[in-house]
Amino acid sequence: MIRALLLTTLLASPALADEIWVTNEMDDTVSVIDAKTLEVLHTYETGERPRGITFSRDFKRLYICASDSDAVQVMDPDTGKILHDLPSGEDPEQFVIAPDDRLLYIANEDDAITTVVDTQTRKVVSQIDVGVEPEGMGISPDGKVQVTTSETTNMAHWIDTQSHKIIANSLVDPRPRHAEFSPDGKELWVSSEIGGTVAIFDTKDQSQIGKISFQLKGVRPEKIQPVGMRFSPDATKVFIALGPANHIAVVDAKTFEVERYILVGRRVWHMALSPDQTRLFTTNGVSGDVTVIDIASLEPIDTVKVGRFPWGAAARPSSK
């Protein structure tokens, strides 16, 4: 194990291939997968209980929510070295980076707070009181609105990024886990794990314009628990991870109609698109692996073994 880690450190280098980075919640590591060959290139150690994971917009830095270390860690993705921690507030679970690549919005699950950190000065800019157990973090493409969902309060809190004040609160079905803006910024999608639904809001006036529920043959409704969401590269579809239902739902982004369900590993959580936008990678917590889906055919094509309880996923393009 130690030798393997040493080896990966020695071999570390700038990205030679498109990569998918996955946090392993129960192993305190991140796995780096070659998006083409599907080999695990590196496994780097992180703080305790890594969950949320995202790259800076220039891909020079990797941010990791090390929840039980109460830190957001900043990693050099070329070497796998932790450079420093950011002040994160307690128990950071998930975060989102602003389009300006500077401010990081962090959900502090145990404290009912959204913490805004400046990644350059490494200072807390603001803390915003939100509902109990904040988790889902989305930011509008223009960076003007950040949305935090709170799992036990069952709300999406709309936060103005100028004033860092809440401008609206939308009640959703129980246990909202993820918030995703459409690429054009006109819609906000919020998944409710226990409610088993996804609510869609018009970002102009925060009005609800749709609600999706799911039906899968042979799967009990209570097992259908939507969590992670991603828009397809052309924004015509939305991929929705259905947790213990072990499927990804493919939803038409216009009609909100479920087009198909793709079988993946057990308890699917989050997703990342390959930088060339041909493949979708899903983190399957219980089976400890990542399913690779071909986006053109919407078929699962392979499974990659990673660490225990893969949780979050982020993509980094080759620097060639």
């Binding site: 157990e133 069952n154 609206a168 226990i194």
Partner: protein, 391 residues
Amino acid sequence: MAFQWLIGACAALVLATQTQAEVLRIDWIERQVSPPPVLSNMAAIPSGLGLDGARLAERDIATTGRFTGQSYDLHETVVAPDADFLKAAKSTLAEGARVLVVKAPAPDLLALADLPEAQGALILDAYAQDDALRGADCRANVLHTAPSYAMRTDALAQFLLKKQWRKLVLIAGQLPEDLAFTAALKRSLTKFGLNLAGEKTWDFDANMRRAAAAEVPLFTQDLPAHDLLLVSDEPGDFARYIAYNTWVARPLAGSEGLKPVGWSGVVEQYGAAQLQNRFREAAGREMQQADFAAWIAVAALGEAFTRTQSTDPAMLRTYMLSDAFRLAGFLGRPLSFRNWNGQLRQPIPLVTERAVAALAPLEGFLHQINELDTLGVDAPESPCTAFGDAR
């Protein structure tokens, strides 16, 4: 491809902070009981058992209320063992209590529910596990967030069946709670096609802290061959001294060893660690079944108040018993109330001192409506009629 989507079915709720404040009064009413003496001196029952859970939930739902313009007012009435419970309950009702979370033994709970002034009130039983309260003695104004004995013992029986541990023996205590647990356990074994190869009654009066190593091997020597030893000792009196002192090396389950419980400090999956952290910080101890039952009772009221925007007990009750009600309880699936007897459907963790060994209902135990209904007496067998023809 099956799909459905609804537009504005529940009119979109965009809640600004200026919504006018509405207050839901919730009354915690507790009948203190002097616990029976137990052998160990190390096992004091926490004084805030239950109430600590209710207080935490009130804080949780008050946070939600900040955003919806709703607030909560938790009144606490704790009646000493020798004081008049009904008198205290009556005066609380006279003061305006309409939504009650109750921690009291079954007779007190029933006496309260049957008061003329409690008709039209909504009572949540967050403590009493008696099966009769969900059956012949059910009341339309009482919902139960505490699991019944039958739900717990069904969970254990599912586990035994799954493991194919079919040779079973029982050592049973004689206190009223032991008798209730034993009766539920026997019913569960029958329900899942299991039976007891042997049974003994615990009637020692020796000090087992000193004598267990000498007495227990002899006491268990004449039990028939078994895979597992069941123990019924709900107050936690003797069973702790049986483990490792048995004649043959067999695991324990029931009130000791592998325990089916509504909650325990070792439950950590499905985000439960967050609730455990909040509770530990607030109460300075581990969260137990009665704490969770109180927490989820108050959380359920908060959810109903948020969705209905009503403080009317009848409205809250109707919503809580409806199909629309889905409660998040950190147990991996939505919780809901059985509309035919008011019992909260909930998974039952099977726990050891240090971990959750399994979470019932176990895979493979199926039900035509909801797998959670494989736990406890089901609608067709239930003698409860107070909920009308809901089934």
